[in-house]
Symmetry: C2
DNA sequence: TCCGACAGTGAACAACCGTACACTCAAGGC
DNA sequence: GCCTTGAGTGTACGGTTGTTCACTGTCGGA
């Protein structure tokens, strides 16, 4: 009560563009906060602005509609996802157990950006709106990037592009399932986390076990 | 314009319970219809009753809240899912290509009950409400049933229960991914449908290819 | 130094929401 | 044949929603 506010604002707002960017961020963060316990469809413009500490009409200075705010969140969340893929590339370079390393980077990134991952996984199929569409597009791109990565492996050198995409999609789907399990786990439950990780590794191991024997059909 | 109404009501409603059941169905069907283009969170009680041709307050004679209506929809949709599993069991009994047969039954059932499958896949992660919880529980049960089925196969005789569940989960996840692809496909596009089916078969083939070489670790 | 641009304000609106309440009127047990 | 039960009606309410409009005050370029 007597203590100062927890969030300390960087005292002087300097330039005008910085001010604007700051409330834009406040809006995005407000939405992300509210999205912890509700789907995007359950958010109202007024709620978000209230949470951001701004009057409702100010919203329109930054976004034309809630959908536009949502698409911005997609872009932001996808960046997090891409960062993870890059980190996975780097991290597995030094190790022999690629699966273990990949799942580990996944785990770390999910725990560090729960809100982004929650948003992506929840809204992916939530409706037919612009947000689900945007996520679908970005996830296809993401899967393609992974396919390119996969093409470098010895076992996969002579796989067709189509089969590589199939494999990449399967891996992405499995990974996203793991993400959801992690997000639904009771926070701080170390034991559950390890079970989920072990399961994710098993799944990947099983899938990749089939790779050497793969013979593409018509 | 001059023609009679398309839907012909079975003229006399007979008993009172039947009447009640009929408007209950009307409410459920109204919801399913509206859910074709919106998420459950985007439905309002008033909308549903209007679509059902009933006054808003009549809703409470059947459900205490929209959530309760949603849970009823889960039960109904899960029944469809279970019917599918049973059909798959029967259908694959006569064939050698189990994968092809299973994917085929999946396809037929999805196309015959698009609304149920759309509801399940969309609302599965849509939030943290009673509906998502109900779906999660039912899907776990479903996965367990599949695991029991799997245990009968020669290749899987000596797999641990944990590994069987892992495999069942993986298969369910892959199947649901196929369902979503089918639901998102442009209706009536035969070519796209076949591509999706072929892809689904490939995915399953790859996963099951790893089975003979599986060695469970600590 | 002045002046325009513009991020944020505050009041007002029409539309919709869930729900309470008093009601009608036909079905079905006695 | 009467009387209770209860599915469906109609009105009314208080609250929330998205969006409009005219406004204020300050930052930053001329």
């Amino acid at each position: 009560m007597g203590s100062r506010n927890v969030v300390v604002m960087t005292a002087e707002p300097a330039t005008r563009l910085e001010r604007k960017e700051r409330t834009r961020r406040a809006l995005l963060d407000a939405a992300l906060t509210l999205l912890a316990e509700r789907g995007f469809a359950g958010l109202s413009l007024r709620e978000v602005t209230k949470q951001a500490g701004v009057v409702p009409t100010a919203f329109y200075r930054h976004f034309a509609s809630m959908d536009e705010l949502g698409v911005a969140l997609v872009a932001e969340s996808v960046r997090t996802l891409r960062d993870m893929l890059r980190a996975a590339r780097d991290e597995r370079a030094g190790t022999t157990d690629i699966i273990r390393a990949s799942v580990h980077t996944l785990y770390e990134h999910v725990r560090a950006h729960e809100d982004h991952f929650r948003f992506l996984t929840r809204e992916r199929y939530a409706g037919s709106g612009p947000i689900s569409r945007a996520i679908a597009i970005e996830l296809t791109l993401f899967s393609s990037e992974l396919a390119i990565d996969l093409a470098r492996f010895e076992n996969l050198r002579k796989w067709s592009a189509e089969d590589l995409h199939m494999l990449a999609d399967l891996l992405v789907t499995a990974m996203l399932a793991t993400v959801i399990e992690l997000l639904e786990a009771r926070p701080g439950d170390r034991e559950t986390d390890e079970t989920i990780i072990r399961n994710a590794e098993k799944r990947l191991r099983l899938v990749l076990l089939g790779v050497p024997n793969w013979r593409s059909r018509a």
